[in-house]
Symmetry: C2
């Protein structure tokens, strides 16, 4: 050991700092002190944002808890204004409740929680949120938070306590801890605190957060009392709980050597082989054998004796064998129908012209964490067309209202050339302009947030690229809608001319020649030479729609055509299956019809009903056809190659722009692989 | 106490989660585990960024240490590529060194350091950076870091050791700890580690980081060996150390009640009054008395007995009394001359048309932390004019290369209407387009970074507003330059017409009439009716410039004019004081000249030399005048009201756009006050 350097300090003659002086200043920083001094990192950077952050953390916890316990959430949020800057906030839920023993640490200790180590989609992942909220309340008002909770069970009593966080030690200080009878409460938790804040309305408000939360959590009922006392109930749109995300084991792909050592150090397994087989996702016995063969590591070795060189060899071997993608029942995407429903719910006032079919991508993994990306686009109607498009961002069903600028979602939007999809954009970069709203949801067992405030998603290349692909697929829908509308309008114009001017001319000429007016329908048919598909939607009542496709054959020969539509499964009723021309429908709601030999100058009607909550999510314009040359068909899109129906002879002449698109996508996916 | 809830767990029949099950899963999360799983928060989100972050943390520490100890920094950075993704990095400095005892914790423990609690501008503030770097190296390669250090003193030996961070306990694990003789080393530190990474060039590269670091740390010499072995030396531009920021006491303004309790709990003082007087900045005896009078709190009370209601009363009283702004010797702004020099240094290849005089605002405080904002704009020349302007962001003399989108600096740029200052911008919002580069430096005792990676500044309203004001002042310079250039070009055109066409006409007419050609100079003078100030710069050699202002009197009367210029103090030589017409110069380099009674149709010359490193930072176009009606003067701007010279009778007719601007600014400052 060295001589005692401290003793020399007095000997140093210089006035400047010396190593010894610096040493004497070195000290530990408690995590609470750190966040106390860096509140902005937790999202507490202005009074208005702070008020929102606290409520967000509490509501996120309630939703997580209810989902884990399969309880339909009933959450109540109440804000009272005490004076200028002081607010009293209370959030109550009907979750499992928290055991008396666990209460102090759950609320009064940072970096403490149940979801940090679990590989499963959840809102809270850090063990920071609610305790940070309570700390902020403590610091800004000097008042403890009040928590009460009751767990299920006839003979369980409810408990309440006041909690203060000691920022020096990061430990809860509990007072007034007592049992009580919570009238009418089966189980659940209430958290109340006083905090400095500022209540605002508008784009980044508590109301907006709750509204957007309701969009992506249609199973939750949220009641909100604002400081004016106004009560708003966000009713649940469905009684069906989202599938409960399952906890999975880590996936070996993208694992760092440090992770492998940590798992090997913690395992209960006795040999490396059983460790690989039992402690990871997707490692079969055969795969494990392969890994040890390639790596030349002894499969009977004890995991805690693993050497660095062996670990490197195993990681190299993992890269060489083919491992299945991680299981995805750990994730809970919203789904395309619910995304559309949610968007319609919130945008009804704007009467948009078009909702592009939302895209739910298939799951991928980044650093061993599965994730899935969903995207939707809404276009036209009264959406303002002179500004930048609005971006709705969600992560694990939580709306992200802040830090849009550095979110991977925004970056993916900005790096795409939207001019090719019908939106305006300077130089093909940046957030595009036009009457559109873009929604993106990222779900993962571990969303890589850019900070503890969980306000933006970090730009991991794999993730950002997936978002880009989802957006492009969605934008392609938009573009083909815009193309279709343009073509339709042109053909409509042609129709009008032909159907008005020709008979007019015929009549005039007949008068002149004193001959009877000839029947022009065959002539018109010949000039038009199209099969026209015309959708009609009749809104029978709030939850019942009749969808009709009239197919006019304006050609000189009998025509056979197949129609294809993806209908919301939840809205299908028997009328679909019993309708004329119906062929079949698959599990995803992809339905097919065939109309044979429509005679020239006649028409046929394919019709069905949709009923229930989701009936209005179907856009009748999203109709596809096959069996005819696409240059001949108006009003429907050619069935894309990836529709996945076998046995139908599809005319494979795709439109040029779609082919181009696909090429682009492939390139980009390959680019990504190079990374 | 409640009954043992754990015992009931087996009784719960449901398959879903119960409160008891959740309790059993609750656990503490170590800060190291947290960051291990959230590497992106520390800035380690891609391999290329990770390689940069590590070097940044080490270099920042070296610069801080040298500044504290008043040592001219000599830093060497060396990167070797071991294979595909593995790099060996070593950073060596000539700082104070670290005592043997302190080495393990400095490098091997997160949230540990000397600068976290100090109220003084420094680069490292969190006690996270270098240990996070070492942790990332550990995790990704399984190899310990290697540190060696020697502190000053003849009989001191150097020490070296290998350091590994135990992520479960957040403690260093030291091996190979031994003394050695470090040949030729007086004092300093070397840190070496192996890490996964990717070496890139371009905008967000290590080279760019070091280059920009050199710009704002002109006293540092940095030597860089890239993985190809290429050596680059960023030579120091000056031997003068920046003034060493002093540590200050907390300023009471904006303090939360929690802060007050913490300070009161930790104080050595025996009474509240002595506590207020001695533990805070800017609290005089009189002010302290006032505070206790208003708050009605007993000044003799023991600080640790302070009650919540009393604390609230004291905080209210603090808002009511007038406390001086915090002292600013805790800050170390770069200064306008050095900013300009730095910009010129890096932009010489682009031959910009104009460097707007950089603005260093006077210090303000946010949450009791003093801060100062500096801004500069460069315009024209070969700066690309078709893209968005480039923004150089700095915080406490550290370049910020990432997360531009959510930085308060970017937001301040985006929220300003640049169309009024001559740049293109859609709808008056967003990053403007045009041939310009914007630089902003924020210096503070506590820069509010948005995350531990220290990549962007949080948008505290007070801070963002100050950045906006600095930018507007700078942009005003730009605008008046553009205006001046436009007017100059127009007048030049007029001059050409008058001086070419009039003599031509006179000659023709004279020929015609057979009369001698008349002298037109008086006529021309009458038509022009301006006093013309024409700057000329002669570059005598690399470090010597001769500046000349020729003042032509194109009016019909003798004219007296005063010229004013802010010259870089560092570049002034005796020629200035001995020159004709020189009046005086103040400490800031604001120099004044007076030329009396220039006869009509004659001219006078004001001339001086500038020498040294900073000579080229003077823009001869930045010349002001007073004593004449501004409509009559071309080539110089009217002296602004805030120039701060007394005794000169300035014609106070300002340009309209300037007046408008000022009104705007005042409004915005008032808006801010409302927040």
């Amino acid at each position: 050991m060295p001589s005692d350097t401290d003793a020399k300090e007095t000997a140093a003659p210089k006035k400047t700092v010396t190593a010894q002086k610096l040493e004497s200043k070195q000290q530990e920083i408690s995590v609470t002190e750190f966040f106390e001094k860096n509140k902005q990192i937790l999202g507490f950077d202005s009074r208005s944002k702070s008020l929102l952050m606290g409520i967000k953390e509490a509501v996120d916890n309630s939703l997580d808890n209810c989902e884990e316990a399969n309880i339909l959430p009933e959450i109540s949020v109440k804000i009272d204004r005490l004076n200028d800057e002081d607010y009293h906030v209370s959030i109550e839920d009907n979750g499992t409740g928290i055991t008396h023993k666990a209460m102090p640490n759950v609320f009064g200790r940072l970096l403490y929680g149940s979801r940090f180590h679990a590989l499963r989609q959840s809102r809270g992942q850090q063990g920071i949120g609610i305790s940070a909220t309570i700390m902020y309340g403590n610091i800004t008002t000097g008042k403890p938070a009040h928590a009460q909770s009751k767990i299920e069970g006839e003979d369980e009593v409810a408990w309440q306590m006041d909690i203060f966080i000691d920022t020096k030690t990061n430990r809860p200080v509990v007072t007034n801890d007592k049992a009580f009878t919570w009238e009418g409460k089966q189980h659940g938790t209430l958290i109340e605190y006083t905090t400095k804040g500022r209540y605002i309305t508008g784009k980044q408000s508590i109301f907006e957060y709750l509204k957007e939360t309701a969009i992506v959590n249609p199973h939750a009922q949220i009641t909100f009392y604002d400081p004016e006392g106004t009560k708003t109930v966000f009713e649940r749109a469905t009684d069906i709980m989202p599938p409960r995300p399952k906890e999975i084991k880590p996936h070996p792909e993208g694992m760092e050597i440090g992770d492998l050592f940590k798992y090997a150090g913690n395992t209960q397994q006795k040999t490396m082989k059983s460790f690989m087989k039992n402690d990871f996702s997707r490692i079969t016995d055969r795969l494990a054998s392969e890994i040890f063969e390639i790596s030349k590591v002894n499969p009977d070795k004890k995991p805690d004796k693993l050497e660095r060189e062996e670990a490197i060899a195993i990681l190299d071997a993992i890269k060489k064998v083919k491992i299945m993608a991680p299981p995805t029942d750990c994730l809970s995407p919203i789904g395309d129908t619910l995304i559309k429903k949610g968007l319609m719910h919130v945008l009804d006032g704007l009467r948009p012209e078009y909702y592009a079919t939302p895209i739910t991508r298939s799951p991928k993994a980044v650093n061993g964490n599965p994730f899935v990306v969903e995207a939707g686009i809404v276009y036209g109607g009264d959406i303002p067309s002179d500004g930048q498009v609005q971006i709705y961002r969600f992560a694990n069903r939580v709306p992200l209202l802040f830090k849009q600028g550095d979110c991977a979602i925004t970056k993916a939007v900005s790096e795409m050339d939207w001019r090719r999809y019908g939106l305006e954009q300077r130089g093909g970069k940046g957030i595009p302009f036009g009457p559109a709203i873009i929604l993106v949801h990222v779900a993962s067992t571990k969303v890589p947030f850019t900070s503890e405030g969980k306000e933006a998603v970090a730009s991991f290349p794999e993730l950002q690229s997936e978002i880009g692909l989802a957006l492009r697929l969605c934008a392609r829908n938009l573009k083909s809608h815009l193309n279709k509308m343009e073509r339709k309008n042109k053909t409509h114009a042609k129709f009008e001319i032909v159907q008005e001017i020709l008979p007019d001319m015929a009549e005039k000429v007949s008068q002149h020649l004193n001959k009877p007016v000839p029947d022009l329908s065959r002539t018109i048919t010949k000039i038009m030479n199209v099969v026209w598909v015309e959708p009609t939607v009749v809104k029978e009542n709030k939850k019942l729609r009749t969808i009709k496709y009239t197919i006019y054959n304006y050609t000189s020969q009998p025509r056979t055509i197949r129609l294809h539509a993806q209908v919301p499964k939840e809205a299908v009723n028997l009328s679909l299956f019993s309708g004329d021309y119906f062929l079949d429908m698959n599990d995803e709601g992809k339905a097919n019809w065939e109309v044979k030999d429509i005679a020239p100058s006649t028409s046929a009607v394919v019709s069905f009903e949709l009923s229930g909550e989701m009936a209005d999510t179907f856009d009748a314009d999203d109709i596809f056809f096959s069996g005819l040359n696409p240059v001949m068909v108006m009003g429907a899109e050619m069935l894309p190659g990836d529709w996945g129906i076998k046995g139908l002879d599809i005319v494979q002449t795709a439109e040029d722009d779609l082919v181009e698109d696909d090429a682009d996508e492939k390139e980009e996916v390959e680019d990504l692989d190079d990374e």
